[in-house]
């Protein structure tokens, strides 16, 4: 097991080098130049040349890349071109904000999605099953930015009970204030994931409860509750864990639409702004961080399989 984890962690290195190299190449090949974008159409040729020199952009791309990699290894992730800040503390801060949203959204999605899926499966084709699945479809199909704006208008404006946007109220930094700001964006974020999880749980559960061992459990006189919760659920959860893992991994990269609608300072928004400004150090740093976290979440999911299904072992 330990060997497996170590090997998986080591395989992270080539993946990340590949990712940064690709990102670097794409950013370099894309038309548009950070100096030009900073100065807008007003840039004179001399000021552009000066700015490119100041930013180190007049070097060939491979020199820029290896210089950057060399510094990253030493813990110096460079300074953002656009924001003039150190990249590492900035993206760690943004990443933490996205993590808050992801964790809360995943909690909401699982605590509602999984029980709903189980109930639907147990009462297949009942009215409640049908109704739930229609609602799930509606939830899944709702455009997330529209849902976000509706939540803002309903809870922020009409009811006036939750803040509309941002991470905290002016000049406040307490936990309660933070949580109140997290509720609406994580609700918007959770809706889609919740729908997927509910559907996945339902179909996986339906498959499992038709299997022989479940029949055996029933025939030995166990209560239906015990059969479902103790025996069926654990097996049914394996595909669900995969889906949750994928969703969490995806959300860790920050959901750009939700972050825009709620002006939420997450990593997705930072990356989009970075890309539009061709802010190479920021985008590369952020992608490196997000890619590492994605790989780690996948590893965690793989390890969770072994717990859920003892037949799965990693040598």
């Amino acid at each position: 097991m330990t060997g497996y984890i170590v090997r998986r962690l080591l395989s992270l290195i080539p993946v990340l080098i590949g990712v940064t190299f690709l990102v670097f190449l794409v950013m370099q090949l894309a038309p548009g130049d950070p100096a030009q974008i900073m100065l807008g159409p007003k840039a004179t040729e001399t000021s552009l040349a000066q700015l490119r020199h100041d930013l180190g952009l007049d070097q060939p791309w491979h020199v820029q890349y290896f210089r950057w990699i060399g510094r990253v290894v030493q813990g110096n992730w460079g300074r953002s071109i656009q924001l003039k800040r150190e990249v590492l503390p900035f993206i760690l801060d943004r990443f933490r904000n996205s993590l808050y949203l992801t964790v809360l959204a995943a909690l909401i999605a699982c605590t509602i999605g999984i029980p709903v899926g189980i109930l639907s499966a147990v009462r297949q084709y009942s009215v409640s099953d049908r109704a739930t699945m229609v609602l799930v479809l509606v939830g899944f199909s709702m455009p997330i930015f529209w849902l976000g704006i509706m939540l803002q208008i309903l809870f922020g404006l009409k009811l006036g009970i939750l803040p509309v946007s941002g991470l905290q109220s002016p000049e406040r930094s307490d936990v309660l204030d933070l949580i109140s700001h997290l509720i609406l964006p994580s609700m918007a974020l959770a809706t889609g994931a919740m729908a997927i999880i509910a559907r996945m749980t339902r179909s996986s559960m339906l498959e499992v409860i038709r299997q022989d061992y479940v029949r055996t459990a029933r025939s030995k006189g166990l209560s239906e509750r015990l059969v479902i919760n103790r025996h069926a659920l654990k097996n049914a959860l394996i595909p669900v864990v995969t889906v949750v893992g994928m969703q969490v991994g995806y959300l860790l990269g920050g959901d750009v639409l939700v972050e825009i609608v709620f002006s939420y300072p997450g990593i997705g928004l930072a990356m989009i702004n970075g890309i539009l400004a061709r802010d190479f150090p920021l985008v590369q740093g952020a992608i490196l961080l997000v890619a590492s976290s994605y790989v780690l979440v996948n590893l965690a999911v793989d390890l969770l399989y072994a717990y859920l299904d003892p037949r799965i072992r990693y040598g």
């Binding site: 038309p31 924001l83 905290q168 928004l269 539009l276």
Partner: protein, 552 residues
């Protein structure tokens, strides 16, 4: 099958109830405006000054995006300009609602007879927020830090405007503790205005030396407000400088919050999370003007939006074709229906707020018949086809795609078949700021926001034949010898009356030989809580909070 029958009505029911639940929230009902005979909401709230001006209170501004820097000499976008402006003073200042200059950190100035040496007499006894003294050395340090690559603190930032603002400066000399001489390489008429622009903000040299690059995150100036904190992605907080050398502000604090999405920013204003916002969705403007809770302040900006012809290509070399295309586009309809009154119809490349502006020139009001006639005269009775470049968005570009599509339809109606190609803004800039042989468009959209309030900043920079890209900004490569001569003379003449005359002549010539299809001048609009009084927008874009007060 019977099981499925009820699903369809059920789905419809769910959808309908969802829609019903949302309708009233999407368009909140607005109480009718109070019928009081007070000034209409659209007027600038230059309320009569009460005997006792209320003190205290906080303005929370909803900005379009996070500032990128709070060091005024490093900024190149409006959000940073607005958040940093009140922390600093400039050598000279623009007067309220005008681009005429008045004393700032320099209380008086002289220009030598040859027009090359500007002597500034500085105010005495001013201290930076960190307690150090403001003096002639500080001025020299701040200016040289920007334009001299060998200055020891040049590497404490990037200075996008240094070349534009100080490129004509030969040297800066300290005469005595409170006198500075700035010597120019050649006569440059608009220079005085440069001393009131953001690169003329003076920061504390001690703080710059101590903080280095972090100065842009913790600025120290002499201005009416002091920097308190900047939480990235959350807020920039400024507080009143009680020791300000001029009249200290009435309000205690100003907070800038980035709220990226236009609709969310408006919702946040209505929910009370902010009390001052920019960039109002045009569809909402009429409703907000009627809302007694808010004041809408408008100010025509130094902005122009146009479609440039590629003058190096046929048939755009022919003046008649360009005139015909100007007649063909219904500019008023674009202003009314797309911009919904957030712009002013443009008949001239120069915005009306800039001195020397004239409207006594050839106009091109919507007239498709005349357009067809001119096209026939030019030898294109059946029109032609063209490639029309449009950015998806961009600073000052308003609604580029919607406006481009309307222009395309109008041109189609007179037989000109344009194919629109859209680009992301960064890519777009890269592809349009190129020498003429590399330009791959027939028509392109562009806009410009004036920097220094001088006509030169619009006419010479955008239309002189000496300003073709990549060295200059004359995108479209317009060249008219007569216009060039007038513009060159005007920028090297110091006498204002003479310059005005030259610019008026130039505007008339430009109108007869149109370089662009000029569409509009964007109006600056902010909406704020009714209790905020005495706020005036400035044509150059910053928010001045020194004289504002908040009613209790």
């Amino acid at each position: 099958m019977y099981r499925r029958k009820w699903i369809v009505p059920f789905v419809i029911l769910v959808c309908m109830s969802l829609l019903a639940a949302c309708r009233p929230t999407a368009a909140p009902t607005v109480p009718p405006a109070s019928p009081s005979p007070a000034a209409p909401a659209t007027a600038a709230p230059t309320a009569a000054q009460p005997a006792q001006i209320p003190q205290g209170g906080t303005i929370i501004v909803g900005l379009q995006a996070e500032p990128t820097s709070l060091d005024s000499v490093q900024i190149s976008d409006y959000n940073s300009h607005r958040a940093s402006y009140n922390i600093f003073d400039r050598l000279l200042e623009f007067k309220d609602e005008s681009t005429e200059v008045e004393p700032g950190l320099a209380e008086s100035w002289e220009i030598s007879d040859d027009g090359l040496v500007y002597t500034l007499h500085l105010r005495k006894g001013i201290k930076f927020h960190d307690g150090t003294d403001f003096n002639a050395e500080a001025v020299k340090f701040n200016l040289e830090r920007q334009f001299d690559p060998n200055h020891p603190y040049h590497d404490t930032g990037e200075f996008p405007y240094a070349e534009f603002t100080w490129g004509m400066v030969d040297k800066v000399e300290v005469v005595d503790e409170y006198t500075v001489n700035i010597t120019l390489k050649e006569i440059f008429a608009p220079f005085l205005n440069h001393l009131a622009m953001h690169p003329a903000s003076i920061g504390s040299p001690e703080a710059i030396k101590k903080l280095g690059r972090d100065f842009s995150l913790q600025p120290v100036g002499t201005g009416p407000f002091k920097f308190v904190s900047w939480t990235p992605g959350v807020e920039v907080v400024l507080e009143k400088n009680p020791d300000y050398w001029g009249k200290p502000p009435n309000i205690d604090r100003v907070i800038f919050r980035p709220i990226i999405e236009d609709q969310s920013r408006l919702t946040e204003l209505e929910a009370g999370g902010v009390n001052f916002i920019v960039n109002i969705p045009p569809d909402e403007l009429a409703r907000l003007k009627q809302d007694p809770r808010f004041t809408v302040v408008e100010q025509p900006g130094m902005h122009t939006w146009w479609v440039a012809f590629n003058h190096t290509r046929d048939p755009y070399k022919d003046t008649r074709v360009r005139q015909a295309m100007n007649y063909a586009v219904n500019k008023q309809a674009i202003v009314d229906n797309i911009l919904k009154g957030t712009g002013l119809l443009a008949i001239n490349p120069l915005p009306p707020v800039v001195w020397s502006y004239t409207d006594d020139l050839q106009r091109y009001d919507y007239n498709p018949e005349k357009a067809k006639q001119l096209l026939a005269e030019a030898g294109y009775p059946n029109g032609f086809s063209c490639v029309f470049w449009v950015p998806e968005s961009g600073s000052g570009m308003q609604q580029p795609v919607a406006m481009g599509t309307a222009i395309q339809a109008d041109l189609k109606a007179v037989g000109i078949d344009c194919k629109i190609e859209t680009f992301e803004w960064g890519t777009y800039l890269d592809k349009v700021i190129v020498p003429p042989e590399k330009a791959e468009y027939d028509l392109m959209e562009m806009s410009w926001i004036g920097d220094n309030g001088d006509p030169d900043n619009h006419l010479y920079i955008l239309l002189s034949g000496e300003q073709w890209p990549p060295a200059g900004f004359n995108m479209g490569y317009y060249k008219n010898e007569q216009v060039d001569a007038l513009l060159r003379e005007a920028r090297t003449t110091l006498d204002r009356a003479k310059r005005t005359e030259l610019y008026i002549q130039a505007q008339k010539l430009i109108a007869q030989d149109p370089p662009w299809i000029t569409i509009d001048h964007e109006t600056q609009i902010v909406v704020m809580d009714k209790k905020i009084k005495n706020f005036k927008l400035h044509p150059t874009g910053p928010f001045r909070f020194q004289n504002v007060w908040i009613e209790p």
